[in-house]
């Protein structure tokens, strides 16, 4: 069973319109690398030198990865990864 990544609305044109992309479970950075290989432009928007950009927040099963193991966080079968802009709130 794959894991899934939720794509923000404004970037769905880069995933052929898909709101959700299925990926192999594994460590988050491998999963993001896989995503970037399949959708290079999406990878460019989200990552800088292979790391999430400063204003990109990533959640695994609703938890901010900065409270988990960052890009080393494991993503299991059926788990959902959510990508959101970091500049909301306040």
């Amino acid at each position: 069973m794959p894991a899934t990544v939720r794509i923000p609305t404004s970037l769905r044109s880069l995933t052929d319109g898909s709101a959700v992309v299925e990926v192999q479970p594994g460590k988050l950075d491998e999963l993001l690398g896989d995503l970037a290989t399949r959708y290079p432009e999406l990878g460019e928007r989200l990552l800088e030198d292979g790391r999430p950009r400063r204003f990109v927040n990533i959640f695994v099963a609703e938890d901010d990865i900065r409270f988990l193991d960052g890009v080393d966080t494991p993503v299991g079968e059926g788990q959902v990864v959510t990508i959101l802009p970091a500049v909301a709130g306040g």
């Binding site: 923000p8 609305t9 404004s10 970037l11 928007r45 989200l46 950009r53 400063r54 204003f55 990109v56 927040n57 959640f59 609703e62 901010d64 900065r66 409270f67 959510t82 959101l84 802009p85 970091a86 500049v87 909301a88 709130g89 306040g90």
Partner: protein, 407 residues
Amino acid sequence: MAFAESLICRECSRTYELGPLYYCEHCFGPLEVAYDTEAVSANVSREKIAAGPPTLWRYADLLPVEPTTATDLGAGFTPLVRADRLAAELGLGELWLKNDSLNPTNSFKDRPVTVAVAKALEFGLKTVACASTGNLANSVAAHAARAGLTSFVFVPHDIEPSKIVATAALGTVVRVDGSYDDVNRLCAQLNEEYSWGIVNVNLRPYYAEGSKTLAFETAEQLGWELPDHVVIPVASGALLTKIAKGFRELVDVGLVEPGRTVRVSGAQAEGCSPVATAFAEGTDEVRPQRPDTIAKSLAIGDPADGFYSLREVRDSGGAVAAVTDTEIVEAMRTLARTEGILTEPAGGVTVASLAKLAREGRMNRSERVVAYITGHGLKTPEVFDPGSLEVIPATIGGFQSVYETKE
């Protein structure tokens, strides 16, 4: 009229048409409103402002929306009071308090909200929403009601009950099982699914501009002079960055003389101090925290403008203090006792931080200091327990049996 031209990314400077957008599609950086500064300069004047209404709409030329009465509950133009008794107690020289608890819903949030809801009307949106620690929810619900819009306000389940009670009379309060940061994530996700105006999500560029008016008023009330040093509570950091921006804009459009840099300092509770921690560690990486403090209105563990707040503070020679819950409550009492102003814990954070910055020598007695009191004490009545006050007979003797004073 409004002189806003476009939205511009703070990181990569890409521009976007004015719309309900808040982040750059290319680098995820925050979008900010860009103005035709020449046109603003040509139109704005001290006299025109003085002839305007006694609300923040007197600065309409510097805001990103056409002035409107549709969302006007009277936000802004709150008192700036000289606070000599508090200054003496804290060992400061010239101290002023901007008492923004005297806004229509008793917090500074009415400033960004009146602007954001006006923008929601311009964009033809029917529903407004927000992620809130309480004060914003109150303000959004009130301004939406005034504007005839539907509102959904999302709050963490454990905020002060009094804040929910007041707000529930005005709109739909949605209590969320989680922290503010969970609520914030939820609202960013809802923004993907609903065509709402979420004031601090997709309307955030316009919303945040409303807070600049605190800088405009401060300068106008000081006789069109800039203060030397300001102390501002930091939750998301948007208030701090926008007050700093407001002071710069006054110089840019010719309303105040250039040449003086305002030192900008931040105030946080120790129980939620991501920006103060980064400041103390000398890093520009603001690591998120799980908040645990009495100052619930400042309990944002992952501040959206933490990075930019640090930059404003460092570039201006300010500092960021962090104070304990005990210091916060003590400072609330000190403010009440010395100046007659009852504030919520956020104001206690500011006053306790003033005291700390003074003790640490980060503030000197020759500076003209302004501190921002952003929310009212009646919003958090549970902080002060009056205990059991004795009931006296309605006679002079009854009074004298309990109170010995002759003065």
